[in-house]
Amino acid sequence: MATGSKEPAVALSGPSGSVERAKPVAVIDIGTSAIRMAVAEILPDGNIRRLETLTQDVNLGQDTFIRGTIQKTTIEQCVRILKSYRQLLDEYQITQSDQIRVVATSAVREATNKMAFLDRIYIATGLLVEPTDEAEVSRINYLGIQPYLRQDERLQNATAIVIEVGGGSTEVLVVHDDNVIFSQTYRLGSLRLRETLEAYRAPAAQLRRIMDNHIRRTVDEIVAGIGSRENPEMIALGGDIRFAAGQLIQDWDRSALGRVKLSALEGFVDGVLEMTEDELVHRYRITFPEADTLGPSLLAYMRLAQALELSRIYVSNVTFRDGLLMEMVASHRWTEEFTKPVIQSALEMARKYHVDETHARHVAELAKTLFHELQNEHQLDARYELILYVAALLHEVGTFVNSVSHHKHALYLITHSEIFGLRAEDLTLVGLVARYHRRASPKASHELYATLDREHRIAVAKMAALLRVADALDRSRSRRIQQLHCTRESERLVIAIPNVEDLSLEQLALKEKGSLFEEIFGVPVLLRGATR
């Protein structure tokens, strides 16, 4: 087996041995103004088949953004909705926790009684709600929008500025060539704006001016954050802009990005802002909560496009649920689309801390090969492959602080950084694997390691053992070991290295790395060079 640059960074592998069937899953998004659910199937080829989408209005945003807490009646309303969703899920026999993902965005995250809310939902419905942080929201949005960006020829050389103006916040994501260059969340939200405006009690005409001022202030901040980019194009997500695009584009094929001229959008926004809520509801057959946020949100998109000096914007039909579903696909099928930006982001971090990139990359490739070769030994889920790969890329970041105890510095740096696409708990795993690439074996008394559950503790130990072998194999820092093949003999594990005769350096390094591998896998490792 060869490790070479022609191979994808991380190869794909499904859970070994099993015949895959479509897996029914559901994602529920508890947003500022609605609780939405998508029921879908993940097909064996990784495609998603939508079965049902549901939505019911709630007043979470209003509660949190005005009062700071979620009212009891609203909590019970959420319980009622989630119970009815749960009933539907039972129908599809979607009952396992790995089939359901429930996330809550800013309205829940910012509520002072967040914990009480989550507990009540769990007790009443058995659903475990994850409050998502900004980084997660942008990652999930990226997963959803990325296939659209890639397939759209009009965006080949463009820098995509992906914007979603939500009820509570605005997410900005800058993507170029599948790489996330910039991601940031701003506290500009249509519902938040509405609430702020109501406090002014000003006449309608004046309100529009005040709202515009608010929006422009954040827009300036966003434009400064994005900086100047080559061929910028704006890709707008969100229910409000989707609605506008539906009105402005005739026969919009929603499987592709729709393109709207800024001048057309300006005209439409003017019209919407002139109308009262009643008129909007009547004219467009939308609900009152929808009518409530339409004007402020569209105005924000429009101001952004103007500030970015664009003459058109692209609108995507993709929703937060799409991203969540994509992530569910990724969680049991690691696709290149998913891993590439993660690895890119990890490399950015490695560079930031002046890591020997050639060595880091080579160790990562070796670790990956070992992960595949020893699948039968470690029996780890495919998703750990990426964790190991990223840990290998970053195992030396700690030297930036000090080469003494650099493995411990690595843990601190990694867990306090943001790597696109990795959740906080993933970062903990990456940090720990890097921390255990040398010196002491994991101990229950070690900080952070102790907080993991059994499954994760074992996974960290296994991955650290593999990383130690991979690191030892490139002790020469010459990338001289390009191929390896593992065989299990009765009392030892033999790693055969063709093309290299003298392996004493590596063998010594392996010894130096201690007995972690043997502790975990029960056998010592023997390196066997090319036989003459």
Partner: protein, 705 residues
């Protein structure tokens, strides 16, 4: 009405014209005698419902807001007058048809109505027995003096009013007694007879023996009458915490609502007549005096008398559809290709089979179905109950508000609930009229959804006599839409944008208007443009206006509207390009089929909705596109056939009247329902001929075949 014709035809008068067409069938001597009697009975029961629902409502409206004008620019008062005039003519025709044509013909055929004057001794003896055992015990005369002690009479049942000679203490004031005939005693009292069938009407029997009820009294007069109550009462759903309880209350309230019509024998004296009018509070214009028997609807019972087969139409046997392979499961058949059934020409069995197979199939996860009017002993409802008992998730939307079926629906709903079917009683403020069933099944490749859409109810009995369309498919788009439609009506979700379907009350009217407008646009751009539609009723002014506009642009419009049509066709500069026909034949035309030429792309739909404001605003209805080319072609062919009919078709004239079509000169006779029957029979024959004889021995399992 002003000289200038109103833009729309009045819907009540249009409905009465429809009922006249039904009655005309009874007068058509080319039809078998008992078939004619059936049409007479139908025209009479139609009228009963019309009075209960429409006239009752109008009378209330006239009291509340006498200036309110409808689309045809008539006030309620003007409408009530016009209805009264038209109905008097209609009931006059009815009784003439009965007395002068049907009764003599029936007598000749051996079905004899016997009068007390010519009873044989044997018959008399028999009558005594019946009277003592069945009639006498169930009837109770009630003495009445004024409206205060007037008994609560049951809606649309016969009563007899008896006037007795005043006694010495009565001060010459008339004495009246009412005998309600109720529903317990039989209307047709069978008499022994040699050959044929002899009967006496219950009221005639009573008249003959009336003195037995009033021993020692002198009877001056004895006259049958019948009242109709307003049934246009509905649940104030905004105040109804428990719909089931409220619905039962409405049913109770209907029992004592005001009297909208009095039917009475024309033999009545003015004294008795005035008394009844006064106690019942009925105006002259709502009184219908008849020289013949009242409640002609009851004669439906006579059409089923056995032994007179040659006076009936041969019973039509619904044919098996060649699209359904009896050797395979419905799941396999539908997976193979979309299935379109034209009932009653083709059997409804595949629909029943689908639900039954779903109930018994271990891989089925869920069944969701709307039940609007279902039949007694419905196999479908039984299958739903069975499925629920087997642990499948079964949701049934049972529409309690299906008028006059409420009692039966309440009963069904309760029994389904007991079987752990999740029963949903419709939606606040709206009637669920759409007909769809979704079956969710776990299959090797994932979840598969089977959907049935229909234009008729899930009612095995009416599926044999109503023309309806069934469409079964696994289309991903339609299945997803049907599911989200269901989620919306069950309250699981707010209504969402559909991929292919359209539903009322949210977007169906707009969609229709859009389709008509785009046809108009095609025409304006110089393309061919046409619209064909088959519906039960066309009332909605917005849609009629759109059709007028399309007609003015040159769109060719053909409408086949069985019942009410408020569109005025063939008027210069308004509707020159619109033709309207109505088919009244053996089967009740009930399917709704639409076709828009759409620049050659042919858009074809089936729908549960008539184009009436009530359907489009206050009902939950569906518009389903049929895109499968085979199914689409069948529908187009069927739709076309109706416009070729020159035997049972009537053309709507611009004055609102109808003319029965005749074959033009040498043109061949064409009867659309017959054509459909033949098509169904031929299809089965073709299939049989195309299949080579192949013996299929049953083998023991494990043996290779």
């Amino acid at each position: 009405m002003s000289k200038k014709r109103a833009r729309y035809i009045n819907r009540e008068l249009s409905w009465l014209e429809f009922n006249q067409r039904v009655l005309d069938q009874a007068c058509d001597d080319s039809l078998p005698l008992l078939e004619r009697l059936k049409f007479l009975a139908i025209s009479s029961s139609n009228l009963d419902e019309f009075f209960m629902v429409r006239v009752g409502g109008l009378q209330v409206l006239a009291d509340e807001d006498s200036n309110h004008r409808d689309a045809s620019e008539m006030t309620p008062e003007q409408q009530l007058d016009a209805i009264s005039q038209r109905t008097h003519r209609l009931t006059g025709d009815q009784i003439v048809c009965y007395l002068e044509q049907l009764e003599p013909a029936l007598t000749e055929a051996g079905i004899r109505r016997t009068h007390s004057s010519n009873l044989t001794q044997q018959q008399e003896n028999s009558l005594h027995r019946v009277l003592d055992n069945e009639i006498f015990p169930t009837l109770t005369p009630m003495v009445v003096t004024s409206s205060h002690d007037f008994p609560l009479l049951i809606n649309q049942t016969l009563n007899v009013c008896v006037r007795l000679r005043p006694g010495p203490m009565d001060d010459d004031a008339p004495r009246f007694s009412i005998i309600p005939l109720g529903r317990a005693a039989p209307r047709f009292v069978t008499l022994p007879s040699e050959g044929g069938y002899a009967y006496m009407l219950l009221e005639d029997v009573l008249l003959r023996y009336i003195e037995r009820f009033f021993p020692g009294e002198e009877i001056i007069e004895c006259v049958p009458f019948r009242i109709t109550r307003n049934a246009d009462l509905s649940v104030r759903e905004d105040q109804a915490a428990d719909l089931l309880v409220q619905m039962s209350r409405v049913l109770d309230a209907r029992k004592q609502s005001h009297c909208v019509r009095l039917e009475i024998s024309d033999q009545v004296t003015s004294r008795t007549f005035n008394f009844l009018k006064q106690v019942l509070d009925v105006d002259d214009c709502h009184v219908y005096a008849s020289p013949g028997p009242l409640d002609l609807a009851a004669f439906m019972q006579l059409t089923a008398v056995s032994g007179f087969e040659k006076y009936k139409l041969p019973a039509w046997k619904p044919q098996p559809s060649p699209m359904v392979d009896p050797a395979r499961t419905m799941f396999e058949c539908i997976t193979d290709h979309d299935i379109l059934l034209l009932h009653p020409y083709e059997s409804f069995d595949p629909v029943v089979r689908l639900v039954e197979e779903a109930a018994d199939d271990p891989d089925v996860l869920a069944i969701k179905q709307i039940l609007y009017r279902t039949s007694r002993d419905s196999a479908i409802a039984a299958a739903l109950a069975r499925a629920a008992q087997r642990g499948k998730s079964v949701t049934a939307i049972v529409e309690l508000k299906a008028r006059f079926d409420e009692a039966r629906n309440i009963e069904w709903a309760k029994s389904l609930e007991q079987s752990e079917v999740q029963v949903i009683y419709g939606i606040r403020g709206l009637k669920t009229h759409a007909k769809t069933c979704i079956i969710v099944r776990r299959e090797a490749h994932g979840v598969q959804r089977y959907v049935h859409f229909g234009t008729g109810n899930y009612n095995e009995a009416t599926a044999r006599i109503y023309s309806d369309v069934s469409y079964m498919t696994i289309s991903e788009d339609l299945a997803a839409d049907a599911t989200s439609f269901f989620n919306a009506i069950c309250g699981y979700s707010q209504p969402q944008k559909y991929r292919k379907l359209e539903a009322a009350p949210t977007g169906l009217r707009d969609r229709i208007l859009e389709l008509i407008a785009s046809e108009t646009e095609f025409r304006r751009q110089g393309q061919k443009a046409s619209i064909s539609a088959k519906l039960n009723s066309l009332v909605d002014p917005a849609i009629i206006d759109a059709l007028y506009k399309a007609s003015n642009a040159g769109v060719k419009i053909r409408l086949n509207i069985r019942g009410i049509c408020c569109l005025r066709p063939g008027v210069k500069k308004l509707s020159e390009n619109i033709k309207v026909v109505s088919i009244i034949d053996q089967f009740l035309e009930h399917s709704r089929i639409l076709h828009f030429r759409h620049g050659g792309d042919d858009l074809v739909f089936i729908s549960s909705a008539d184009w009436m404001p009530r359907n489009l605003n206050r009902r939950i209805e569906l518009l389903v596109p049929i895109e499968d080319p085979v199914c689409q072609q069948r529908l187009l062919d069927s739709l076309d056939a109706y416009f070729k009919d020159n035997q049972r078709s009537h053309r709507l004239e611009r004055d609102g009247s109808y003319t029965r079509l005749q074959p033009d000169g040498s043109a061949a006779l064409f009867r659309s329902q017959l054509y459909h029957c033949q098509q169904a029979v031929d299809a089965v024959k073709r299939l049989e001929q195309s299949q080579p004889t192949l013996f299929q021995p049953h083998r023991a399992s494990g043996q290779a075949s």
